[in-house]
């Protein structure tokens, strides 16, 4: 109830006096979908710096990484964001999965512990975000319950959401499947690695910002 009133008063103030604060934009999704890759493209484009390290090993991001004052000046429109790249949300974390990546047992166990804590941290940050980008791997099945739970929670918190299907450069990618799984939300297909379709992404991002 308090949260709803807080959000409502913020919206009224924003509409009366214009937005004073930076837009807090959260990147959410399952591990290895490309959240950091996409956040890096944006941060590099507009600040010249990356937000975090990317890797093929799942749970590379184990703490929320923040980049302040990311001013995007796109086609004459300007918005300033505070970008939060969050650890991937999963329902299981098994240190043995990391052993496949030539990690020793101690390092793998430490990584697993940090990953579980990172997931809890991600969820805690949801309330602080103004808008959320859910990044999904377009080459994977989108119907996983974690994806549905994450999107459901964002909607229940009345936060605007944009779904990004990443990795559309892969042969197995199927953006239509994501669109079918989430028919009520805008879905944009991109490849963060190849910087493909970023124009469509920025257009969608500005549309998302209008919904705050």
């Amino acid at each position: 109830m308090i949260r709803i009133l807080k959000d409502l008063s913020k919206r009224i103030l924003n509409s009366l006096f214009g937005r004073k604060e930076d837009i807090k934009l959260g990147f959410y999704g399952p591990p290895n979908a490309g959240k950091t890759s996409l956040a890096n493209v944006i941060c590099k484009d507009w600040t010249g710096e990356d937000i975090g390290k990317v890797s093929d090993v799942p749970h590379e991001t184990r703490h929320v990484q923040v980049k302040e004052k990311v001013e995007i000046d796109y086609k004459g429109k300007k918005l300033t964001f505070k970008i939060a790249d969050t650890p991937g949300i999963a329902t299981k974390v098994d240190y043995e999965d990391f052993l496949k990546y030539k990690m020793n047992k101690g390092t793998a166990k430490k990584r697993a512990k940090e990953a579980t804590q990172g997931i809890i941290e991600s969820i805690k940050w949801l309330d602080d975000m103004d808008a959320i980008i859910v990044v999904l791997d377009a080459s994977q099945n989108p119907y996983s319950q974690v994806n549905i739970t994450v999107v459901g929670n964002i909607v229940a918190r009345k936060k605007p959401v944009l779904i990004v299907g990443n990795k559309i450069d892969l042969r197995k990618a199927n953006l239509k499947k994501i669109e079918a799984a989430f028919p009520d939300y805008e879905v944009v297909g991109i490849s963060a690695r190849k910087k493909k379709n970023m124009d469509d992404f920025y257009e969608a991002l500005f549309r998302l910002a209008k919904k705050i």
Binding site: K92, D94, I119, I120, T149
Partner: protein, 133 residues
Amino acid sequence: MSNKRGVTRTRGLSLHVLPFSEIQHLSITDRIKKILKLILGNKVVILQGRLRVEEEIRLVEDTMAMIDHVKQFKGIELAVIEPNLKEANILDKMKHGLANKLSGGANALTIIGPATIVKEIKKDPKKLEIYLG
């Protein structure tokens, strides 16, 4: 366990059907506690109905906290099956909506299993496949 022919066998599987009425009057904390207690007992829980979205995310949070504290526990696999109402008529949709409000999604089924037993649940709009370890 795989034999020489490559056929996978599971050493017994314990399913626990949990009627929604058993958790209906519990707080979020107690609902999640009850489900996780069954999961820690190596049971695959079939809940008649579904948890609310805030309960699902709480289940994920508590599962993560538990992985850190319970040896051998690696998390859960979770899936919800619900009837597809996209092509249903307005009356059916209203009936379904009312039933959902009264009984936590009586037409839905939630499957929650320990990740050590349920390796993967593949969900598609029309089918659900459960892979056991």
